[in-house]
Symmetry: C2
Subunit: 239 residues, 2 copies
Amino acid sequence: MTYCLGILLRSGLVLASDSRSNAGVDQVIHVRKLAFLPVASGCSVAIMSAGNLATTQAVVSTLQEKSGSGLAGLDIAAAKTLFEVASIVGAALRAIAERDGSYVAAYGDAAASFLIGGQMAGEEPRLFQIYAASNFVEATDRSPFLQIGETKYGKPILVRALTIETSLEEAAKLALLSFDATLRSNVSVGMPIDLLTYVADSFSTGGIKTIEVHDPYWMALRDAYGKGLAALIDSLPTP
Amino acid sequence: MTYCLGILLRSGLVLASDSRSNAGVDQVIHVRKLAFLPVASGCSVAIMSAGNLATTQAVVSTLQEKSGSGLAGLDIAAAKTLFEVASIVGAALRAIAERDGSYVAAYGDAAASFLIGGQMAGEEPRLFQIYAASNFVEATDRSPFLQIGETKYGKPILVRALTIETSLEEAAKLALLSFDATLRSNVSVGMPIDLLTYVADSFSTGGIKTIEVHDPYWMALRDAYGKGLAALIDSLPTP
């Protein structure tokens, strides 16, 4: 399983992914599910992956290999908008799924999905979710976050507290609390968390922070939230 | 969709269910998913239902009609333990599923599941979950709550705050907060909430409280929790 979360804000983007990949409970590995894509220079676009690892790796590797090739509909370095990038990712996913799907079916599910978030030159920051069917939707000011994988445990806190006006720092904190809720309920979602805080108009292609289990901020945040929530619940009237 | 929650405590049981039943978004009705079962006198057992409404109603009506019949394996009034009651509920579910399943398949899913909680004379309070396959599991001191239907949104707060030592009143409050999280994320779970707080050794067969949208306690609880959580999140350090 996987949990990836993308948040679109006026001030930029927050992207976060867990690191566990498993085929059953006896084949568990750590993988990186958050990476920058080789789009045109002066642009900054990251991708997060959920689903069949062979499929997601094949899609990302294909995008990397075809970047700069000039092949129409396959070269993300030639894309001018994030909508175009999403189309190319969708097309790559569809090609891999068509190639492998029927062969994989006997052993499991070849399906995969992606979040891509970033900023192309001349555009605002944007965030897309690419479904297993390869079509896609975009985050908006009314629905500023998108999730793939194990989405439900971590949703309530986002529904309550997040808007597109939330600051980058507050959104990063909320993202980590959303991961905490998910990690406590589903052992197939696992540490470390890769966290990217993208400042609008920076066009930065660095700054992915890996938060390990013993990261001091992560430990302090979980502890303070757990204690604060217990005190809050305690303070509420009983029926 | 449905959300039903059963909580096993040293001091008794808390059972709660939503009221929405839908076949698609254009056929939505209110139903009662929490009811007492006609077990032997001096015992108190309630059932909560999720899944296909025709199946759940058929199971509960069958249990009511066969109660007192003396038919082996079908008469819950003859059951001595809650394990026996669970076996009879499972058998009734299997019979309905076998009778209707293949006919319903063309239109949807005939599957259903149940929670049964209560206390039989000579036993402690117990809580069981009956799966769609008609087999069942029991809550224990290490896993004191069971859920059916839309289970994920409302789980994190229970994982954090609930133990078998929690008081009845605190558990009822946590149950309502768990419903609040679910209602905010899934519109196919709907008010009112039926809530039963069962005091161990009372053998009471009354006290189901129906909490409507405008119930003053419910409104005050949601409001205080929402504001308290916002203040808590605000008080936590940013990365």
